[in-house]
């Protein structure tokens, strides 16, 4: 594993088979130095977004520029994408580039009986017709149904791209 630090942002990379997995930690913002980040060149990169805290407008631009540095032949996959990044992917045209796809992402659910929210990790191929899959959770031995807690058509928009 090697770590690339850019201010508050960390890229921790490791090779997994034919892919390079990069675990992103911190805020994707102006700290992202594309020349540095683009040194982690590989034909197939998996970005693990689990520990991304925030992404701002400058971060989105630098991210897109960084991907551009890899060329159009490179393939990118995103895993463990948190809600705050999904919201940006849905908002900003071009954030999710043509050579990139989201494999797994978090989605908000709610347990009405317990008045509790849950972030549930979903696989992109579980989403059929932009409908959230039914989920349940067992808490203290009782099974509860989870309500999807967003407007489906808006939350899953990134899958249409």
């Amino acid at each position: 594993m090697s770590t690339l630090e850019m201010g508050q942002l960390k890229f921790i990379s490791e090779t997994a088979g034919d892919s390079l997995v990069i675990h992103i930690e911190g805020s994707i913002n102006e700290d992202l130095v594309i020349e540095k980040a683009a040194e982690l060149k590989h034909a197939h990169i998996i970005f693990d977004m689990q520990k991304v805290k925030m992404i701002n407008s400058c971060g989105i631009r630098e991210w897109i520029r960084m991907l551009d540095q890899h060329g159009t032949e490179a393939k990118f996959e995103y895993v463990n994408v948190p809600q705050i990044v999904i919201q940006q992917m849905n908002m900003i045209s071009g954030f999710l580039t043509k050579n990139a796809k989201v494999n797994t992402f978090y989605a908000p659910y709610f347990i009405e009986d317990l008045d509790e929210e849950r972030q549930v990790l979903l696989k992109a191929d579980e989403i059929k017709d932009f409908k959230a899959p039914k989920m349940s959770a067992t808490v203290d031995g009782t099974e509860y149904e989870l309500d999807f807690d967003a407007i489906e058509d808006q939350y899953f928009r990134f899958l249409k791209r």
């Binding site: 925030m54 992404i55 631009r61 940006q88 908002m91 045209s93 929210e117 407007i151």
Partner: protein
């Protein structure tokens, strides 16, 4: 004789949103309000008014009215029932309206009354416009530099209890503050000729605010809402810039900022109010309702308001 401070309300059909509000607005007995049939409006009516409030449906179905209104879009307030952010953006882009009221919810009527009062009295809206006492928390901060902006924002939010909101609410506030304060520190400062001082600089650089013009942040809360007010003391933002960036969701390949900050703020806010006093001050007021559920945050109606005090 038409009073020069008149608010024109264009309405006609019972289906018209404005018409549905008419009886309530009439009860307010505001002498400056004049109802007028959309097909009977003249250019002189628009010139002499301070504001025109209309249902978006009229804008779409009457070409003559559309052309007339477009030449006075700085006075235009649009009421519309929209199904999502894209539709709101389309309407703002198409009309250039300074005021947009999403009409899907219950908070809008009081806003319209407040809006009419503000226009008639030539006042800005303030954070207090939206507060329903008691105030549950209040704080004030100054941002002397862009150094460690994220940590400064985290500290600013510390006095505010966001535990009763959904998990992603705090990151939304942090992002809005990041965009508005970056704007106040980098984009707002201009020299005596009006030329930008820091606008083209990389946002990684540390800029220091002019000691006489330090941007401020005020946060005020009531039981239901949190209201962020970010103020710079340059007043350099213009309607032209807002029109360009507000609904533009594509990153710009240019020096300085990415050009999507304003777009992101509009997406995240329930109400976005921009007060501009040219050469003196620009104020962003962002109203967010506090919800336990993301869904409720997402479906609440949205509005946009630009109040610009013309130089005398």
């Amino acid at each position: 004789m038409i009073a020069a401070h008149q608010v024109l309300i264009l309405s006609d059909t019972p289906q018209d949103i404005v018409k549905q509000l008419e009886s309530i607005i009439v009860e307010l007995r505001m002498p400056a309000i004049r109802f007028i049939h959309p097909s009977k409006i003249y250019r002189s009516d628009l010139i002499e008014s301070v504001c025109v409030l209309m249902d978006h449906a009229w804008f779409e179905k009457n070409q003559n009215l559309r052309e007339l209104i477009l030449s006075h879009s700085d006075k235009l307030g649009i009421l519309a029932t929209v199904s999502g952010q894209e539709e709101m953006n389309r309407i703002l882009k198409e009309t250039g309206a300074c005021h947009f009221f999403g009409m899907s919810g219950t908070h809008t009527f009081q806003d319209i009354v407040n809006f009419l009062n503000a226009r008639i009295e030539n006042r800005f809206w303030t954070a207090e416009t939206f507060i329903e006492p008691p105030v549950t928390a209040k704080s004030h901060f100054r941002f002397e530099s862009s150094e460690n902006l994220e940590q400064q924002i985290t500290r600013a939010l510390e006095p505010h209890d966001l535990l009763s909101t959904f998990e992603g609410f705090k990151p939304i506030l942090e992002k809005i503050l990041n965009e508005t304060l970056t704007n106040a520190l980098f984009n707002a400062p201009v020299d005596s000729d009006g030329s930008p001082v820091h606008r083209a600089r990389n946002r990684k650089e540390v800029v220091l605010a002019d000691p006489d013009k330090i941007p401020t942040l005020d946060i005020i809360e009531d039981a239901d809402k949190i209201i962020l007010t970010v103020r710079d003391f340059y007043g350099s933002l213009t309607k032209k810039v807002i029109d360009h960036y507000l609904t533009h969701g594509q990153v710009a390949e240019k020096e300085g900022g990415a050009g999507v900050g304003l777009f992101l703020i509009l997406r995240d806010a329930h109400k976005l109010v921009i007060n501009i006093e040219p050469g003196k001050m620009t104020e962003f007021i962002i109203v967010l309702h506090k919800f336990k559920r993301f869904f409720h945050y997402q479906v609440l109606e949205k509005s946009f308001h630009l109040f610009e005090r013309k130089p005398s």
